[in-house]
């Protein structure tokens, strides 16, 4: 286990450094200087030179990267935004919790729907719930979340006025308004993985149901409740835990689109805005945060699988 963790940590470090380096290099190889976008196309050469000097853009790329990395590692300093001139670290502190909250709420919503749905359709195969799951599992992975968002806004916000169409009021201004604003985006982000995980739950439960130890438990006359909770669900949920952790990582990508639809002030929307305004320090920081989160969730998925499944950890 220790060796496994060490290997995964090493891979994680390589991934994080590679991704940040690739983004860094590419951003600086692009012919248009960010100075032109910030100062305007008709800026004087002297102004551009001053801007590039101020942000260290005139130094060799390797040195720029070393400076940036040192700032991040030693002082947790991601530099300043080219556009607003404010600290990128502050921007991250403001936006990261929004995206994390969105993803956690989405995953909870996903599991609350998917696990009972999958378990019940495996318990009553070919019943009405099982048929519903078959339809839902195809529709769910075929519906683009952002389009579902547009349609749900049309139905629940524009027509019915039940839920807000976007924006996220801070939680200190009222818990209810905050939660209501999260319902639609969380649902749209969750739908794909809900469909996927309910189907996985179903096949996982079906597989466990066919195992000898379940038959033994039934033959021993154990209570139905005990058989389901201790023998079936505990074992059937092992792969689901890992998949859920991985899905959280993948959600960061889709959150870019969902935060855009619902105008949520998260790190993913901030990344997209920064991409368009060539605010590279923000792009750099946001990609780093997302990559670290993704890599950690993948490690968590692997570790969970090994811990819960003693046969693999040997």
């Amino acid at each position: 286990m220790a060796e496994f963790l060490l290997r995964r940590l090493l891979l994680a470090a390589i991934v994080v450094l590679t991704v940040s380096f690739v983004i860094f290099i590419l951003a600086r190889l692009v012919p248009t200087s960010p100075a032109l976008l910030v100062l305007g196309a008709d800026a004087a050469p002297a102004e551009i030179a001053a801007f590039e000097q101020e942000h260290g853009l005139d130094l060799p790329i390797a040195i720029q990267y070393a400076h940036w990395l040192r700032g991040v590692v030693t002082r947790f300093d991601f530099g300043t935004s080219y556009v607003s001139g404010r600290s990128v670290t502050d921007e991250m502190i403001r936006t990261v919790p929004v995206t994390f909250e969105l993803i956690i709420v989405s995953m909870l919503l996903c599991l609350v729907i998917a696990v009972p749905f999958g378990v019940l359709s495996a318990a009553y195969p070919n019943g009405p719930l099982d048929h519903a799951l078959r339809i839902f599992s195809v529709l769910g992975v075929s519906t683009p979340g952002f389009w579902l968002g547009l349609i749900l806004i049309l139905v629940f916000s524009v027509r019915a006025h039940w839920l807000p169409p976007g924006d996220l009021p801070p939680i200190r201004d009222g818990v209810l308004a905050h939660v209501r604003a999260l319902v639609l985006p969380a649902f749209c982000l969750a739908i794909y993985y809900t469909a996927m995980i309910s189907r996985m739950t179903r096949s996982s439960v079906l597989e466990v149901l066919g195992q000898d130890y379940v038959r033994t438990a039934v033959a021993m006359g154990l209570s139905r409740r005990r058989i389901w909770l201790v023998y079936i669900l505990k074992n059937a949920m092992i792969p689901i835990v890992s998949v859920a952790a991985m899905a959280c990582g993948y959600m960061f990508g889709w959150a870019i689109v969902i935060e855009q639809v619902f105008n949520l002030p998260g790190i993913c929307r901030s990344l997209l805005a920064a991409i368009f305004s060539r605010d590279y320090n923000i792009v750099q920081a946001a990609v780093l945060v997302v990559t670290i989160a993704f890599v950690s969730l993948n490690m968590l998925a692997d570790a969970a699988f090994r811990i819960l499944n003693p046969r693999v950890s040997k």
Partner: protein, 296 residues
């Protein structure tokens, strides 16, 4: 066979056929776009902007008076071209690398290729793709005689993000096949490595790859639409389902529902068709695989 089991078989079969019909219709419409579209997808007609569906414009018109049905039909071309193209190249690279790694087992080559797969698996591909496209821009790049336009960039990036998954599946199968007795027998008969890989290992390793590649076509349609929606994919005025939905966003609150509804339905129908085919193929070709969706 019990009656229920017969119905279940029939259900699987018919859902695969339904998928083929759906996707086939979409492909046909895309191929025949110049004849199938009732009007020019780019023709501006400000006098008839934002018209609801009617007999003149079956699916209504958008903010520039362009016929939505025609734009959806031409958009099918963009979507399907990019989806099929990216899965084609992703499969090509993934299968080649997977076969090489599986055949060269125990060598440095195997080690390097599988490590590279591991590395790319640990990268949030969608985020990286969005950042990359954002940085290099959506416009055309000229590299000598080669012009890389927005479509080619999308195909390249989506193909790239599919490669490791397809490569790993090929590798796992090729690993088993190249150790098998029939491959050893062929080798002892003097078959060259190329013959072994292409004629023996490839055909026997390919079924699970085909299943995953099919499901990836659906993922590619959604990824392309999402990228175009946020402005980093197909660029206007070229009609694509994603850019049409980006337009629709501005008319959600004023009640022009048809601009948002129909392009999304086109995406849904296409992807449902692809997924039904993929599921049916999995049941036929790779029944042990369990659930394998395009995880992205």
């Amino acid at each position: 066979m019990k009656r229920q089991a017969i119905f279940a078989r029939l259900g699987q079969y018919s859902s695969g056929v339904a998928g083929l019909v759906l996707l086939g219709a979409m492909v046909l419409v895309a191929l025949l776009a110049p004849f199938a579209a009732p009007s020019d997808p780019l023709a501006l007609d400000l006098a008839s902007k934002l018209l609801p569906p009617s007999s003149d414009h079956l699916l209504g018109t958008d903010q520039a008076g362009r016929d939505l049905l025609s734009r959806i039909i031409w958009g099918a071309r963009e979507s399907l071209l990019i989806a099929f193209g990216s899965v084609f190249f992703g499969t090509l690279f993934g299968v080649s690398l997977g076969l090489i790694a599986g055949y060269k087992q125990g060598t440095v080559i195997e080690n390097v290729i599988t490590r590279v797969f591991d590395l790319f698996f640990s990268i949030p591909m969608l985020v990286l793709a969005i950042a990359l496209i954002g940085i290099i821009g959506t416009g055309s790049i000229s590299l000598g005689p080669l012009t890389i336009d927005d479509q080619a960039k999308l195909i390249g990036l989506i193909a790239f993000s599919f490669t490791p998954a397809l490569g790993r599946i090929t590798y796992a199968a090729a690993l088993v096949e190249s150790r098998s007795d029939y491959v050893r027998a062929k080798r002892s008969q003097g078959a060259s490595p190329l013959e072994l890989v292409v004629l023996e290992i490839l055909p026997n390793s390919i079924p699970p790859v085909i299943v995953q590649a099919t499901l990836f076509i659906g993922v590619a349609v959604i990824v392309e639409a999402s990228l175009s929606f946020i402005g980093l994919g197909v660029q206007p005025p070229t009609p694509s389902w994603g850019t049409m939905l980006a337009d629709a966003r501005n008319y959600i609150f004023s009640g022009e529902w048809w601009i948002a509804l129909f392009p999304g339905l086109a995406i849904c129908l296409t992807v449902v068709g692809i997924n039904l085919i993929g599921d049916a193929m999995r049941d036929m070709l790779d029944p042990r695989a369990g659930v394998r969706s395009g995880f992205i």
